[in-house]
């Protein structure tokens, strides 16, 4: 009889420890989400008519906040054994996709390039390879990139409203490249596939913006001028 009690006592100890780990993870994730929302607030202001002027300063501010993200993620790593990443994956999956999107957005705004998985990992202070430690799962990276696509279709619209007629063309080019990339992938019927199906709407939306500019001769007009700027 004794032994059963003992055995279950041991098990309870294990379960408690597990619950403590999850509690710890949840707390870090919560502050991480808070920081992510702050970065979003900073970056979302580029949609304001006035916001187009000082994109660089917004990017700088976001970059600073990514320091905090790195700290939180550094903290997160310490909360559980490295090889149990997938045991707790669901806890941080959402927020990791979120900050990946934010990193991709910053990188795009800075240089209009597609952030690589390596770059995201660098910005977040985590690994690319699963073997090396807390890493960025490939599905999470792709999910973050798809969020960027839909944000850029909104940016194309708002940049026209703000009087910038060349940006949509560049966005269109960027998004088409991204679309070609995704077409190389054989996605299963999972959440990622569903999100990818949304990409074609972003592509179409941006094409229509470019069309509106083209038919009014607005695309060409500015193009000459702005090409010099870049």
């Amino acid at each position: 009889e004794m032994s059963v009690t003992e055995m279950f006592s041991n098990i309870q100890e294990y379960l408690s420890a597990d619950q403590d780990v999850r509690e710890d993870i949840r707390k870090v994730v919560q502050v991480l989400e808070q920081t992510a929302r702050e970065i979003l607030t900073v970056l979302q202001s580029v949609h304001q008519p006035s916001g187009f002027k000082d994109i660089p300063s917004k990017c700088l501010k976001a970059r600073e906040l990514f320091c905090t993200v790195r700290n939180h993620l550094g903290d997160l790593k310490t909360k559980f054994p490295a090889e149990q990443y997938y045991r707790f994956h669901e806890h941080w999956r959402f927020v990791l996709q979120r900050v990946t999107f934010l990193a991709a957005f910053v990188v795009y705004l800075e240089g209009e390039t597609l952030v690589t998985r390596e770059e995201v990992a660098g910005i977040l202070g985590i690994e690319v390879d699963r073997e090396k430690g807390f890493h960025l799962d490939i599905e999470d990276y792709l999910s973050g990139i798809l969020t960027l696509a839909s944000e850029l279709s909104r940016l194309a619209v708002n940049s026209v409203t703000a009087g910038d007629y060349t940006r949509p063309l560049r966005i269109s080019h960027f998004i088409n490249e991204l679309d070609s990339g995704f077409r190389l992938l054989n996605l299963k019927n999972d959440p990622l596939r569903k999100r990818y199906d949304g990409l074609k709407y972003d592509v179409k939306k941006i094409e229509e913006v470019v069309y509106d500019l083209s038919i009014r001769g607005l695309a060409k007009e500015q193009e000459g001028a702005s090409t010099g700027d870049q």
Partner: protein, 273 residues
């Protein structure tokens, strides 16, 4: 057949007495809940009608008249909220919250819509609650024809009755407001009003940023509405985009004509800021 039951019930009047009091307590509670549900339904309907009325401002010349009429309607709604407040006097508001939350959210939507039309600003929770402090007024009370509910109102205590909208109900009402603002925006474009869409897009973006900032820390119902909110903002941004794009063509064509035939159209550049 049930003799032993019999004396059982007789000898144990203590237990039965207790349960009789429980019966009374439970029935009283359920009846109150039911009255609150009915009040909530009334509030919902009247608030919705107020919103329909307020949308007429974009098509009708007399804005002031519409606003006045909406004020009368909302006064009626507030009388119903007063009845809720009276039902809740001395109660824990949260115990009956589920009964009246739909109505209150709809009222928040209506009053905040009216406020935006008047002030082009977001009404605060405090401002809403300030209007829900009711002075004891017997004449008004007698006017109300809800005979059933007035039976249980205890008017004995002195002073004002008041109702407090919870921050969550406020948030949910504001989330729905954004849908009405989107409608108002598209209506404005259809009526040749160019200022309003740009004002609305600014305002909606602020609300959207606010909701993003709250994110998923709010209650689940709020998160659920984020998607619709984003869609509404998208529609408004698209409308502004179209105004801008089509406005771009004016200078290249016969500009003079535009001003003579359609005086309503002003230079969209003004509208942007």
């Amino acid at each position: 057949k049930m003799e032993d039951q019999d004396d059982g019930t007789n000898t144990t009047s203590a237990v039965m007495a207790a349960f009789k009091s429980f019966q009374l307590e439970l029935d009283t509670k359920h009846d109150k809940y039911e009255r609150l549900v009915k009040l909530s339904r009334d509030i919902t309907i009247e608030s919705k009608r107020t919103i329909f009325l307020l949308h007429r401002v974009t098509s009708v010349p007399g804005v002031a008249e519409v606003l006045a009429e909406s004020e009368v309607k909302l006064d009626g709604v507030r009388l119903k909220i007063k009845q809720i407040a009276e039902e809740l006097r001395g109660q824990d508001l949260h115990q009956y919250h589920r009964a009246f939350t739909p109505g209150i959210q709809e009222y928040v939507e209506a009053i905040s819509f009216q406020h935006f039309i008047k002030e082009r600003a977001l009404i605060s929770l405090e401002e809403i609650n300030k209007k829900l402090i009711f002075v004891k007024d017997n004449t008004k009370e007698a006017e109300g024809d809800q005979g059933t509910s007035s039976e249980s109102i205890q008017e004995s205590r002195e002073g004002a009755v008041y109702f407090q909208v919870t921050p969550t109900d406020y948030l949910l009402g504001i989330a729905d407001l954004t849908g009405e603002l989107m409608r108002m925006c598209i209506n404005s474009v259809g009526n040749g009003d160019i200022d309003t869409p740009f004002q609305l897009s600014q305002f909606l973006r602020q609300i959207y940023d606010g909701f993003s900032y709250i994110g998923n820390t709010g209650p689940y119902e709020v998160s659920k509405k984020l998607y619709t909110l984003k869609q509404s903002l998208g529609k408004v941004e698209d409308a502004c985009y179209t105004l801008r794009v089509r406005g771009s063509e004016i200078p290249t064509h016969m500009l003079a004509d535009v001003f003579t035939t359609r005086a309503a159209l002003i230079d969209p550049d003004e509208g942007i800021s």
